[in-house]
Structures are given as structure tokens and as C-alpha cells.
Symmetry: D2
Subunit: 153 residues, 4 copies
Amino acid sequence: MRGVNKVILIGNLGRDPDVQFLEGNIAVAKFSLATTETFKDRAGKLISQTEWHTVVLWRGLAELAQKYLHKGSLVYIEGRLRTRSWEDKEGNKKFATEVVGDNLVMLDKRLDGHSGDHPLPSQGGSGLSTGSSESFGGLEIPPLSEPADDLPF
Amino acid sequence: MRGVNKVILIGNLGRDPDVQFLEGNIAVAKFSLATTETFKDRAGKLISQTEWHTVVLWRGLAELAQKYLHKGSLVYIEGRLRTRSWEDKEGNKKFATEVVGDNLVMLDKRLDGHSGDHPLPSQGGSGLSTGSSESFGGLEIPPLSEPADDLPF
Amino acid sequence: MRGVNKVILIGNLGRDPDVQFLEGNIAVAKFSLATTETFKDRAGKLISQTEWHTVVLWRGLAELAQKYLHKGSLVYIEGRLRTRSWEDKEGNKKFATEVVGDNLVMLDKRLDGHSGDHPLPSQGGSGLSTGSSESFGGLEIPPLSEPADDLPF
Amino acid sequence: MRGVNKVILIGNLGRDPDVQFLEGNIAVAKFSLATTETFKDRAGKLISQTEWHTVVLWRGLAELAQKYLHKGSLVYIEGRLRTRSWEDKEGNKKFATEVVGDNLVMLDKRLDGHSGDHPLPSQGGSGLSTGSSESFGGLEIPPLSEPADDLPF
DNA sequence: TTTT
DNA sequence: TTTT
């Protein structure tokens, strides 16, 4: 590669995801995501701007979307831009730019009383008592079980 | 510039922020942030890994942190890495790497009954009814009030 | 803000930038950027995939583009997605998604013999009167001149 | 996952990479990377600031580093922060924060006359037997060979 | 310790 | 339409 094509979004779903299963039972999810940014214009006035994105997820991520995401869900999406083009029935050239996600983080707090119902995948850091000194322990490098701290550096 | 130094974190505060005011009434906030990532190792086993970061915020962001962040808060931080070094009293060279934030997004849903109490800055997209076609309208480019859609392209 | 809308690209310009000056002498540059990523598909075959993006730059960044970028230039662009819609003469609804850049890093080695000729600013907005401060989204630049190491932490 | 820990750097190697092979013939590369950013301080003065990062690469990426990177090389690194701690011989607690890279893009123009000599893979893991698939964090690579444009949306 |  |  001599290129980078990366998108990072945090926003809310405008509708429930639309999930389809292709042959081979491959899941594809699609939804609109609204990102709202606020900033001051040159005059110092607060401006709020919403942008809508089409997000596409494949396979495992699509299945996660189907299980856990719905209209209003707040998510972090990391992915890449992809523009498709086609001609409609009238022969007009059409373009659509989508964000193909390869990482998804659900940011909603479960507010439902019946938590535990659906075992939400993972749970980061919350409920930590103080930890920090403890947690600095030389953790293993993720996908490996190498003796990372024996490194001869 | 011929360089990029960018950090993006989503995680929970390990403690309430520590906020100080320097001369000139410049606010500086500091806190530990835990980011937890989950993934499968080579054997397919789910591994959860927590990393602790020191986050430093200046001025307006520090004041936001003081007002709205506390132990357990879930935040998005965008910033850059900065390593400081010094010698302690025994003459040992010490290093500390921090994330100096230049963007902060609070990701907690307000769960408190008395919402409205503290006017949380902005509120993105949530509660949107359907919108999408409407929202595609040719929005103005942020900090400008140029007739962006009159562009001669 | 309760949202994030961020794009990071590294790629080559497909053509020289198209630069226009709006009233008020505000520069706008537009160009196509090709990002090429390579990865292995499920069968282990190397796949190379090129995606084309429309990049829009304003003010100081547009002037930088005009001065230093040309067909083939390799650049890093950081920005945000923005979709515009309009109707063409036949009444067809059209959409275009662009990347509005707020940071630009030129990655080409100057190969010209007369290097040193023009002291490449190479940073968005540097040395420009219009002063695109957009790179930091209106945020306070973390103060280098602050006595950072005297921090009472 | 309920967290994000992401670093994006563009900078130059301060020295040739230090590459080691652990048992199992697993490669680990380590090097210092300088990122230089330029911006204006409050007085409008141009400030250039260099930050040094320790970058660690594993497996296929480490082998790429060994083959193609050297002192001065310009690279894009995407990875995550990881802080290790240990006690030195005097019993002093020590910390080191590193960037563990999971994506590498070489940004140097090949200036050597004998270009074409070694067909630069230039993508993390490409053409390597060890096959660092870390770049995609264990996620399914979005399937290029899927009939993406036949999607029923 | 890099680079412009 | 770029680049390797």
C-alpha cells in the first residue's frame, strides 16, 4: 500500500439497521448515521452541524448491528470510504459514497432494567476502583503470547 | 509540518479530573483514562486488554472537564502524544508520556433525574425522527459563511 | 459536540488542483485524490484497491494547494465528510460526498535541483495571512510557551 | 470492546530499526520516530515542535521494517499505545510508553537509480509468509470479491 | 536521534 | 485521473 483511507465517526443511527444475508449466509448491514459537530464560527457564534453518512458493515459486524443496534443508538465506527457508481433506469449516472466499517464500538449505556438480557460484548474499564498502578503491569501484546517483557531492548 | 502526531481514545476516567489554575487563570486538567479493547487471540480466545493513559487538557477543555467529567465518565479524546522527562530527587531520569487533548466528546447519557441542571454543551443527532433526505441539504462550510453551494465546480 | 466526523487520507492527486477565488478573495481548492490500499483476500491473493475522493480545501490550505500541489503529489489530508445534494437541470436529485480538509501535509520529497528555493511552509496555514486556524477546530492551541514542566502534578 | 486506543503518526526514523527474532522466529522491530508539527502560537509566531516516539512492530511488519526502513525514512504508522512498567536494578519504578504499530506505510520516494530492483511490497504483511494480519485487528476483511454492487439496497 |  |  502507498495509501491510507480511514474514516472515524461517532454518531446516532437514524433508523434501525437494514440487514440482508447474501448467498453463503454472509450478513450485510446498512444504516444512516448522523454525526453532529458543534463549533464557533468566526463571529464566535455556536454552530451545530449534522452530517448524514451511509454505513455498511459485513459479516460479524453486520450481525452485531442486527442484534444490538437500533434507531438512536450511539456508535463509534472506524472504516474506509468507498464510492460506488451505477446508472439508474433512466440512464443517469449515480454515485453513492459509503463508509465500510471495520470496527464498531457501541457507546450506549444500557438503561434497560433487564440488563444481562443480551450479553453485550465486552465492557471496558467501567467500574474501576482506582487501579492505575496495578493496571500498568506489563501486559501481553494482543494477538501474541510472546514474552513481551523479556524483549532484549 | 512534515509530520503527524495524533491520538484517538475512547475510555473511562479512573478518577475525577485534577484541575489546576496557572497564572493568568489558565486551567489545566489531568486524569487517567482506561481504554479497554477486546479481540480474539490466535487461538480464537476472547482477550480483553485495558491500557491506562494520562490525559492533559488545557483552558476551555480543562474547564469542561472540571464541570462535567468525573470518575467513570466515558469520553472520546483526540489529541497528540507528548513525552516529558525530568530527574527526580535521587537524580533518576524519569519519563512520562501524556496525551494532550485538543478535542473532547462526552459520551455518557445523562441518567440523572435532574437533567437540564447543567446545560451539557450541545446534543448531537439524538432524537432524530427520520430526517435523512431533509438533512442532506447543502450545509454551509463550518467556520465560514461563504455561499458554498454556489461554488463554480 | 456529541459527534465525530473525521477522515484521514494519504494518496496522490489525479490532476492539478482546481482553485477558485470567491468574493472576499477567499480561496477554494478542489482535487481528486487516489488512495490505494493493498491487502490479501480470503484466498491469500494480494488485492490492490484504488478509491477516488473529492477533496475541498479552503483559504490558507487552498492557497498552499495552489502553490505546491500538482498532479501526482502525495499528500496526507485530515478532514471531515460532507455530502451535498442538488437537482440537475433534468430534475434528478444528485449527491456528492466530499472531504473538506482541515489539515494538509505534503509528503513528496522535493526532487527539484533548486531545493531551498521556496522554503516550503508545508503546514496548513503557516505563513499565510488568511490564517486557516481550522486545523485545530477553533480550539486553543496547547500552549507551548506555558511552563508545562512546572505543572503541579 | 467498549474502548478505542489509536495512534496515527507520520515522521522520520531517528536511527535504523533494531530488529530481534524471538523464539519461534518471531520478528520484533523497534525504532524512534520523530514527528514534527508546526503551528502558530498565540502571538502568531511559527513554532516547530518535534516529538519522539518509540515504535514497536511485530512479525511481518517487523520484517518489512528490517528490509526497507532506515535512519531518516519517512513513514506512516497506525497503532495503539501501550505502557510498560518495571523496576530497574536500584528498585526504581520505570515506565515506558510505546506505539505498537499494526499498519505501516512507507512514504519515501525511491530515489535510487535502480528502482524496480526490489518490488517494494509497501504494505504491511504483503507477500510475507508470516502474514501479519494485525492491520485489520482480526476483523473480516471487507470482501472485495463479493458482488457488492448487486446489494439489494 | 530524524526531517524540511 | 494518481501512485508503486
